[in-house]
C-alpha cells in the first residue's frame, strides 16, 4: 500500500532561488500561508500562525530536521489531538505522532526540479483534528473554485 505522497514540480529558476523560497521562513510563509515566528533551524521547533483565510486562529508547528543547502529541506509535522494552543504546548513535539515532509531540489537543464514527499501516515493515531483542518482547507479551495466559476458566469 502506497502511504506516501510524492509531487514533482519544474521551476524555471536557479536552484538557489527555489532553496530560498522553500527555506526562508518569510518566503515559505508567503506561499504556504503561515506567519512564522522565526527562521528554520535544524533540530528546532518552528512555530507560527496560519494566514489561510478562515484559519487565522490555527497554530502551525513543525520540527525542522535537515537543511542541506540547495539539496534537502525536511521537517516532521506533528499531529496533535487538537489545534488548541494548550494541546500544542502540552505535547512534546519530538514525541507527537507526525508525518515527514521533505523537499528535494535537483538542478535541471532549464532550472530546478522540486520533489516533495510526505510520508509516515501510518504513524498517525486516532483522534486528530489537524487532519480535519487539512481536509477542510480543501473545502475552502473548493469554495474558491465555486466563486471563480460564479464570477466567470456573471461576467
Amino acid at each position: 500500500m502506497n502511504d506516501r505522497i510524492e509531487k514533482r514540480i519544474e521551476l524555471k529558476v536557479p536552484i538557489s532561488r527555489v532553496w530560498r523560497a522553500v527555506t526562508d521562513y518569510r518566503e515559505f510563509g508567503e506561499w504556504f500561508r503561515v506567519k512564522l515566528d522565526g527562521p528554520f533551524v535544524p533540530g528546532q521547533v518552528s512555530r507560527g500562525q496560519m494566514t489561510y483565510p478562515g484559519y487565522e486562529h490555527v497554530r502551525w508547528e513543525a520540527v525542522v530536521k535537515k537543511m542541506e543547502p540547495e539539496r534537502l529541506f525536511s521537517f516532521t509535522w506533528p499531529h496533535p489531538k487538537s489545534l488548541d494552543k494548550a494541546d500544542y504546548a502540552k505535547g512534546d513535539q519530538a514525541t507527537l505522532p507526525s508525518t515527514l515532509v521533505e523537499f528535494r531540489l535537483e538542478k535541471t537543464a532549464s532550472g530546478t526540479l522540486l520533489v516533495l514527499t510526505e510520508s509516515g501516515f501510518e504513524n498517525i493515531p486516532g483522534d486528530f483534528r489537524l487532519e480535519a483542518f487539512r481536509r477542510n482547507e480543501g473545502g475552502w479551495a473548493e469554495q474558491m473554485k465555486n466563486i471563480e466559476r460564479y464570477v466567470a458566469k456573471a461576467a
Binding site: D3, I5, K7, K12, D127, R134, A141
Partner: protein, 147 residues
C-alpha cells in the same frame, strides 16, 4: 452544512490511522493481495505457500478484521475470510485529499517564484535609460497634478 461536513470528515479521518497500521506489515499485505481477488478463503488456504504457521496467519487475519479490511464468514465448521475494499478506498480518498493540498501549496509556490521573476524583470527595466525617462515623465505628471 459546513460544520456537518467537517464532522463527518473528521470522523472518517479517525478511521484511517489503524488501516495504515494494519497494512504496514508484509504478511498482512500479502494476505490482502490474496483475498482482494474476491474469493473468500479459509485459514488453511491462506497458510499454503507461506512459511508461517496457521496460528500466525490467524493472528494477522484478526488484525485485518479489526480494521474492517477482512470479514470472517462461517461455512460449516470452517471460517472463511473475505476482503472488504471500503476501508482502503476511504484511506485512498484521504491520501488523495492530502495530495490535493500539496498540489495547491506547490501551485502557490510556483506562482510566488514566478511573480518574483516578473518583479525582478520590472526592476531591471527601471534601470534601463528609456524607462527611467518614461518614469521621470510620470513623476512630472504626478507632481504637476498635485501643484
Amino acid at each position: 452544512m459546513l460544520q456537518k461536513q467537517r464532522n463527518s470528515l473528521a470522523a472518517r479521518g479517525r478511521a484511517h490511522a489503524p488501516v495504515f497500521a494494519a497494512l504496514g506489515d508484509a504478511t498482512r499485505l500479502s494476505l490482502v493481495v490474496k483475498l482482494s481477488g474476491g474469493q473468500p478463503s479459509s485459514i488453511s488456504q491462506l497458510t499454503q505457500g507461506s512459511k508461517l504457521t496457521r496460528q500466525a496467519i490467524t493472528k494477522h487475519l484478526r488484525v485485518l478484521e479489526r480494521v474492517g479490511i477482512v470479514h470472517s464468514v462461517h461455512a460449516g465448521r470452517e471460517s472463511l475470510f473475505e476482503f472488504d475494499p471500503a476501508p482502503i478506498e476511504q484511506m485512498r480518498e484521504y491520501l488523495d485529499f492530502v495530495s490535493e493540498q500539496w498540489d495547491q501549496a506547490l501551485a502557490r509556490l510556483k506562482a510566488f517564484i514566478e511573480d518574483w521573476v516578473f518583479m525582478s524583470s520590472q526592476t531591471h527595466w527601471l534601470h534601463t535609460p528609456s524607462l527611467r525617462l518614461e518614469r521621470g515623465g510620470v513623476n512630472d505628471f504626478v507632481s504637476s497634478v498635485s501643484r
